[in-house]
């Protein structure tokens, strides 16, 4: 029976190759071998904090290109992805082939603990340097600026902060308007919030003034992105600091929600992806990773609202557009050991304590 199934597998593998004629010319000549092996594996298991609804275009795009391979998405939050993956790895159980998560510190921890497969994607050369973790097979896949959001009915145009420095100033000038009505991430529960705040603390010299002002305004800190954005759109809160970039897509549907790209600098968040070291379907994993990083995949990711990091993708607010405006005031995260900085327990607790005492000092 073996020759029989091998023939079917080969047949399936040849179909997409003939349909799309060839891979980009910079792909290695033996790439078809990965495709064949992946088709024999038949599926790729993906852990990501994204719903099937959000990911559907990417999955459909991938399956159109490789019809023999199904994508099994496990939609889990970032902490669950980490807990579940290390437990499964320790128990020697079946786990994810590709981990794709916005929790850069946890992803970096997994990579440095040896859980990533050192796979050099042929797309590497077409990515910005910061998005490639050389020798570890881990890649940044998206380009998601942290932005401000506000309620257009509640704030006058001159009350809307345009820079990080504006926030503290406008809070002081309009304390009644802002008091109890500023929303941001709870940095103790939301990894993205913690990441963005620590970046701000390094980039923005008056960060601790900002923290005290947020405290003075009795700001409210959320764990859930949906609730946070909703609270600004409804007018329960009037201003949101450090909002994720896909808040802007809600702004299109909701005339009350205003979006500001801070003018002084943009902290960029990204989602790190890698094939796992002990993946059961390593070839399908590589194929999926390459697809995510490819021009076609990035075009789809851009359409999903996560912004492409490639130069050859067109769309609203691509990295190229933002680079024209911001130049070196874009602050993307370098995929590398630097992401581990705040995993040091003492350092992390110290930061959290300073943050909290600044908040209460402002009150």
């Amino acid at each position: 029976m073996k020759w029989y199934s091998a023939m079917i597998a080969t047949g399936l593998a040849l179909m997409p190759a003939s349909a799309f004629s060839a891979f980009p010319d910079y792909y290695p000549p033996d790439y078809q071998a990965i495709v064949d092996a992946a088709t024999a594996e038949g599926k790729v298991v993906l852990y990501a904090p994204l719903s099937t609804t959000t990911l559907r275009p990417l999955i459909e795009g991938f399956q159109a290109e490789y019809p023999g391979i199904t994508v099994e998405l496990n939609d889990l939050n970032t902490v669950v992805i980490y807990n579940r993956f290390i437990s499964e790895a320790a128990g020697g159980a079946q786990s994810a082939d590709v981990l794709w998560s916005s929790a850069l510190d946890l992803q970096a921890k997994l990579v440095t603990d040896g859980h990533s497969l050192d796979y050099a994607s042929p797309e590497s050369a077409h990515l910005p340097d910061w998005a490639v973790w050389q020798g570890k097979g881990a890649y940044g896949t998206t380009f998601e600026p942290m932005i401000f959001a506000y309620n257009k009915d509640a704030l006058k145009p001159e009350q809307v902060p345009q820079t990080h420095a504006d926030i503290a100033r406008l809070i002081t000038e309009n304390l009644d308007t802002f008091s109890g009505r500023i929303a941001s991430y709870n940095i103790e529960t939301a990894g993205l919030g913690f990441f963005a705040i620590t970046q701000d603390s390094k980039i923005f010299p008056e960060f601790w003034t900002l923290a005290r002002a947020l405290g003075a305004a009795s700001s409210r800190f959320y764990s859930s992105t949906g609730e946070m954005i909703e609270s600004i759109a409804s007018g329960e809160n009037v201003f949101g600091y450090n909002q994720p970039s896909h808040a802007s897509s809600y702004g299109r549907d909701n005339p009350s929600l205003g979006i500001v790209f801070p003018q002084d600098y943009l902290v960029i968040a990204s989602r790190m992806a890698f094939v796992t070291a002990k993946a059961q379907n390593p070839n399908a994993g590589k194929l999926f990773l390459d697809y995510m990083l490819s021009q076609r995949g990035q075009q789809i990711i851009d359409g999903m609202g996560f912004h492409s990091l490639r130069d050859d993708v067109t769309g609203p607010m691509t990295r190229e557009d933002l680079t024209k405006t911001y130049g070196d005031r874009l602050k993307p995260p370098v995929m590398g050991p630097g992401l581990l900085e705040f995993l040091d327990q003492d350092k992390r607790l110290e930061f959290l304590n300073t943050w909290k005492s600044s908040l209460s000092a402002g009150q």
Binding site: P49, L50, S51, T52, T53, T54, E72, L73, N74, D75, L76, N77, V79, V80, Y82, N83, R84, I86, S87, E88, A90, G91, A93, Q94, L106, K109, N151, D153, A183, N186, E188, T189, A190, G191, R220, F221, Y222, S223, S224, T225, G226, E227, I229, E230, S231, A233, S234, G235, E236, D253, N254, P255, S256, L257, F342, L343, D344, Q345, R348, L349
Partner: protein
């Protein structure tokens, strides 16, 4: 006496199902790192860290306060509603009964979101109240509101246990009191209340545990305003140190379990006298509703007021939200009405799969779970040995562990207990976790029916030559079949909306609606969350109506 082998099996399996995950947590709490890492060693540092952490004490204090508040709200109200609906001629009994169950159908996160939309600072009712009266004198984010909402939403549980207990009370005892000139209130206080004391005691412990373990409400209503509770503290521990600190999380769980000991002891003390409350005797006693007289409409008003605050406000909030794209004080809702969110949800294949899985785990899994709960209840029935004491504790303790951590413990059980490993990726693992986590609710539903069956009925069967087993199947089981069917319906509801326990065990293809709701609200848009929540409510409502059509009654 040699223990009956089937009883021994039941006790052993129950002990295993409860103690394995619990044992892993205890073991994890005295280590320096993840138990599966070779360099973890024995230490009590985790206890030192937690006990020295001022935030733990704040969270503990808040949890105890909220739990007490919930108790004060839920217990009298639930007992009173049970009495009114089960034993009096309050108008509209038949309609009230299923309505009282509605809060059980709604997961706490959805309930909280509903309150935000309806009664938050810019909620629909708040805005209307300000327009009409100039004020809206409530704040859903205050600790008092959290305790009151938590208490109100736990009224159905108290209602269930108490009304099941009341079901057995023959009218003879009440009438005896009425003939001596006692009014309805006096009958309730002096006759019914003592008869349902064990059910009340158990409800009290459960509500208190639910308060200690409360997560969804605490996170949505409390956390954004800096009001921490134990489960939220636990949640923060996963990210506060960067990498999830299992030893600290396990330590908090162990401390919560230790906290529950005195409560279970207290409960045990009250149940010692359980035989006093036998109400299904060998002699037939017909039930006639108590006449309320002039109290009929005030009683109805009370029931309706509770329904308005607990059911109508949050559910109308989430329903309204499902039909609009956005909202706020300056938005004319008629301008933004839409069905798009429903169209979108129905175009989702994942949702269809989610519905199928939810129904499967609720209906089939719920039925199997009730069978297990019945076996457990029988194993402890009419015996007062140390094994029964052990079972009493085993049954209660799972509810004290916050759901997310219980889920993680079950993942470990299925990963590291090798005979169970092949079952991890199947629905069985999820079913087992759900069954254990809801054990206190389910086992009690069954045993509260059981405790009312007079032992002379079984003894009668035994005296004419039946074995104990035969007596159980032919006498006791038929007598409690309404109780079993009701338990099935309720376990179906609890399984249907459960999420956190399954999060570590769910895989692609085994999505359930509860999970989709929570993940969507974490990352996505509230439009879809609201629409999905409404669809889920409708589906569960259909399930409940069907069950009632097929003759399920909360009381005969």
């Amino acid at each position: 006496m040699v223990m009956n082998p089937s009883r021994a099996v039941v006790i052993l399996v129950t002990a295993g199902a409860v103690c394995l995950p619990l044992g892993i947590l205890f073991y994890q709490s005295v280590l320096s790192g993840p138990f599966f890492h070779a360099d973890s060693h024995f230490t009590l540092d985790a206890f030192g860290f937690v006990l020295r952490d001022p935030e733990f004490w704040v969270a503990l204090r808040n949890s105890l306060l909220v739990a007490t508040g919930m108790l004060v709200v839920a217990l009298p109200l639930g007992a009173l509603l049970a009495l009114l609906v089960a034993r009096t001629d309050i108008p509209g009994r038949g309609v009230l009964e299923p309505l009282i169950l509605v809060p059980i159908l709604v997961s706490p996160v959805v309930l909280a979101l509903g309150y935000v939309v309806a009664a938050g600072p810019v909620g629909f009712y708040t805005v209307w109240s300000k327009q009409l009266f100039g004020v809206a004198p409530w704040n859903i984010y205050s600790p008092v509101a959290i305790a009151v909402i938590g208490g109100l939403s736990h009224v159905p549980y108290v209602f269930l246990y108490v009304s099941t207990a009341l079901k057995g009370v023959g009218s003879d005892v009440e009438e005896a009191a009425r003939t001596t000139g006692a009014g309805p209130l006096r009958v309730a206080l002096d006759v019914n209340l003592p008869l349902v004391a064990p059910a009340l005691m158990f409800s009290a412990v459960l509500v208190f545990f639910a308060g200690v373990e409360m997560f969804g409400l605490a996170l949505v209503l409390g956390n954004s305003n800096n009001f921490s509770m134990l489960a939220v503290y636990l949640y923060k521990l996963t990210t506060r140190l960067g990498v999830p600190a299992y030893h600290l999380m396990a330590t908090v769980a162990v401390l919560i379990v230790l906290l529950t000991f005195p409560l279970v002891m207290l409960q045990r003390h009250y149940l010692k006298v359980a035989d006093k409350f036998v109400t299904v005797r060998g002699k037939a006693a017909r039930q006639r509703p108590l006449t309320l007289g002039a109290w009929r409409y005030p009683a109805l008003m009370l029931a309706l007021a509770w329904l308005a605050v607990t059911v109508i406000v949050p559910i109308s909030g989430i329903t309204l939200r499902a039909f609009v794209t956005y909202w706020g004080p300056n938005v004319n809702l008629f301008d933004v009405l839409t069905l798009d969110q429903f169209r979108f949800v129905f175009s989702e294949p994942v949702l269809v799969r989610g519905i199928r899985n939810s129904v499967l785990i609720g209906v089939v899994g719920g039925g199997l779970a009730v069978a297990c709960y019945a076996a457990i209840a029988f194993a402890a029935h009419r015996r007062n040995d140390e094994w029964t004491h052990l079972m009493d504790y085993l049954i209660l303790v799972p509810r004290a562990i916050p759901g997310l951590l219980a889920g993680l413990a079950f993942l470990w059980v299925f990963l590291f207990i090798s005979p169970l490993a092949p079952l991890r990726a199947t629905l069985f693992s999820i079913w087992l976790a759900y069954t254990v986590v809801w054990l206190p609710y389910g086992a009690r539903l069954v045993s509260s029916s059981l405790v009312q069956v007079g032992k002379e009925l079984e003894e009668a069967a035994v005296s004419i030559g039946a074995t104990r087993r035969r007596a159980m199947f032919d006498v006791t089981l038929p007598l409690i079949r309404v109780g079993l069917l009701t338990s099935w319906l309720l376990v179906f509801l609890m399984f249907e909306r459960e999420y956190s326990t399954g999060v570590y065990l769910l895989t692609s293809g085994t999505e359930v609606i509860g999970a989709l709701l929570v993940t969507l609200s974490e990352t996505g848009s509230m439009n879809q969350v609201a629409a999905l929540a409404v669809i889920n409510l409708v589906l569960i409502g259909i399930g409940v109506i069907t069950a009632f059509r097929f003759g399920v009654r909360l009381h005969g």
